[in-house]
Assembly symmetry: C2
């Protein structure tokens, strides 16, 4: 099983879009894929037509057993999506209460790792969608994953947010003694504007090898796909955006050891 976390503390940079795009392409290649929504806002859950405010079974349930994950519970929380081969473990807005509930409780950083250990032979790939903030959910996500993908818009204001994310990452890696790989993914790249070109250059100069050599272009089809509740590759497999995510997948598959 390969486990990839998609995270950035800045909002609106393309995290959920990256999860559904990569997940959809992997499923179309015959892989068994699970996408998990760890964002209390539940964009990934809404994307596939569920309501995070009223959903009964969600990733929230994993945290209600004093740090243990009962056998069989993860399977109960999983549902199919509009994309064959792609399953979802949805989020509930109740996740927003976790921070307060977990103050002072030990061992709550490994819940997602324990969950995925129980699903080890059922999925080839697991993609974790995160909220734009640092907390117990993000810690769980980074602890559970082998590869971190950090989408960042190619614009000036987003670069500051990237510094913050990298700072957080190095703190978490030191405290967990893990060797989590990370790849910075330039998104919403618009080669017509100076701002986009300049920002991309700055990102590459600052973060060197950790930046993907290409960029995901601006593509209006992503919004169309989210309105229809289908993964972008099912809407149109040859648009610029989807083709870029297919190229990204090639890079990621070279990087990640077999899991």
């Amino acid at each position: 099983m390969r486990i990839w976390a998609i995270a950035n503390q800045k909002g609106g940079v393309g995290k959920t879009t990256t999860v559904v795009s990569l997940g959809g392409v992997l499923a179309s290649q015959g892989k068994r894929v699970l996408v998990m929504d760890l964002d209390p806002h539940g964009s990934l859950t809404s994307y596939f037509g569920h309501d995070p405010d009223t959903i009964e079974q969600s990733t929230f349930d994993l945290f209600m057993h004093k740090g243990r994950v009962p056998d069989g519970l993860p399977e109960q929380l999983i549902t199919a999506t509009s994309c064959p081969g792609l399953d979802l473990m949805p989020a509930s807005t109740a996740l927003a209460t976790l921070e307060r509930r977990m103050v002072g409780v030990d061992g709550m950083g490994l819940i997602i790792s324990k969950t995925l250990a129980l699903l080890w032979d059922q999925y080839d790939f697991v993609l974790l969608d995160n909220s734009p903030s640092l907390g117990v959910l993000m810690i769980n996500s980074l602890a559970a994953s082998q590869q971190l993908i950090v989408p960042v818009q190619t614009e000036f204001l987003a670069i500051k947010g990237l510094e913050r994310m990298m700072h957080t990452l190095s703190m978490v890696i030191r405290s967990q003694k893990s060797n989590l790989q990370h790849l910075i993914l330039p998104t919403m790249f618009d080669r017509r504007t100076q701002a986009s070109l300049q920002s991309l250059r700055t990102i590459k100069q600052t973060w060197g090898d950790h930046v993907w050599k290409f960029a995901i272009p601006v593509d209006t089809k992503f919004r169309d796909a989210s309105t229809k509740g289908v993964v972008p590759s099912d809407l149109d497999a040859v648009t610029h955006g989807v083709r870029a995510y297919k190229k990204l997948l090639e890079t990621l598959l070279e990087k990640t050891p077999n899991g």
Copy 2:
């Protein structure tokens, strides 16, 4: 003094862009304008070339006097910007620690109101930029303002975030017994895509009179302006985006009583 808060719990919807666009147009019309950054990520502060990680004087200082705001302190925290007539009270990343520091301390919801009372005759307009999350800073911002502007992207996933923001707003209004007006501002509208058109229709159907009758179009000049650290109207006063914000200002000036 007219006090407008710009807020939405969803990230990346155009809050900071709305603050600098409206602020810039008001300053070009000869008004004395203050923009305040209440976002620990400090996008508005970075926009004007300051570093929220290292800045010494910021909105954070307002909260360090046990609920009082000493005479003369607000003026010390204000700095000029690249736009004549537009001043900034910057943010520090230390604002992120406020939530923990304020647990159990009473009367911390009126710090911004008290600050603006001390500046009452120095500015005609104050625009409050907020972070994409609910906490003591947002409560302060809503308590201090007369008009709330809620930018929302014209896309499916953003509509769910809008419901959450409206839910929060009605809770806060009830608890503060205020009659805060609110206007929903459709942003990043792209009339070429079905998704944008459909989302705009849904937003108008659901929120009726509280939605501005027009929309801010997608315009690449906003990114260019933020890279250069100038307000959009100083970069190019006739682009689609700036013209739309000028129209928005006309609507807002009709709505807001003299302050």
